[in-house]
């Protein structure tokens, strides 16, 4: 079975490229049995979400000069 080290890398790469069917299957089997990696996958999505907020949010606060 896939190790957590490999699963976490795929959970990150999933955000950057489409996974192959084989990768998807192996990752699916792994995360079905590994709550820690499931959580890691959610955190990867959160990181993306947080980054997008970060870019938009902080300037609205700092410079709303032309309101």
């Amino acid at each position: 079975m896939m190790k957590c080290t490999q699963a976490t890398q795929l959970l990150s790469e999933k955000l950057d490229r489409p996974l192959s069917n084989k990768e998807k299957m192996n990752l699916g089997i792994h995360t079905a049995m590994c709550p820690a990696c499931r959580q890691f996958g959610k955190q990867m999505l959160s990181l993306r979400d947080i980054s997008q907020r970060y870019v938009k949010q902080s300037d609205r606060e700092e410079k709303d000069g032309n309101a």
Partner: protein, 208 residues
């Protein structure tokens, strides 16, 4: 009021230019990137200002947002490199990055057991929905710090992907890295950011 309106009507006629939201978002994305690259807000502002100005001047050339963005980014990047060179920081960057892969090994050893499973204490915790807890100044300060703690190359590639939303080919061409190198670097950057946020924000929150 009417004066302001008619003035804006006189601006160049490219459709993109009238998309204020797009242009504003673009400016903000570039600014965040620039500040974290040069670590000096005033210099970053100037560089972004210049890059945006040349975008306005050449707006008619672009009919796709992606093309405009690529172009602005290319200009900005050169300006940032100039700034870093002037401050003699650019040459140091590669030296700093040498140490990064060693730290990666150490982090992976710290997080995972020898046979590649999570260490019991390091298993990812549930993060609170970013909705309320994340929308605070304190959180953004921690996020800033965590980003700054990344090796320069990591944060640059991470920001190109997540802040500027550039696609893989574009990043690889710009930075002269291979696709697999990019993917691995992004993984390591996320692994570190995640660890940093969990240690300094999410876990602290749960424990107190």
């Amino acid at each position: 009021m009417t004066q302001a309106l008619s003035r804006s009507d006189k601006q160049p006629s490219g459709q993109l230019f009238h998309n204020n939201e797009f242009m504003n978002d673009l400016r903000l994305q570039m600014l965040k990137f620039a500040i974290l690259q040069v670590r000096n807000e005033a210099l970053a502002e100037d560089a972004v200002q210049d890059a945006m100005l040349s975008a306005y001047q050449n707006i008619d050339r672009f009919n796709r947002q992606a093309a405009l963005k690529t172009w602005v980014f290319a200009i900005l990047k050169n300006k940032l490199i100039d700034i870093l060179r002037k401050e003699k920081r650019y040459t140091n960057a590669s030296i700093l990055e040498e140490g990064a892969s060693l730290n990666d090994e150490a982090l992976i050893d710290h997080l995972f057991t020898e046979n590649g499973h999570w260490q019991k204490d390091e298993r990812p915790q549930k993060w609170d929905e970013p909705v309320h807890s994340v929308e605070s100044k304190h959180f953004w300060r921690i996020f800033d710090t965590c980003l700054e703690a990344l090796p320069a190359k990591y944060s640059r590639l991470f920001m190109m992907r997540e802040f500027l939303e550039l696609d893989t080919n574009e990043i690889c061409d710009n930075e002269e890295v291979t696709v697999s190198n990019l993917n691995t670097t992004l993984f390591r950057a996320r692994l570190r950011l995640r660890e940093c946020l969990e240690d300094n924000w999410f876990q602290g929150e749960n424990n107190t």
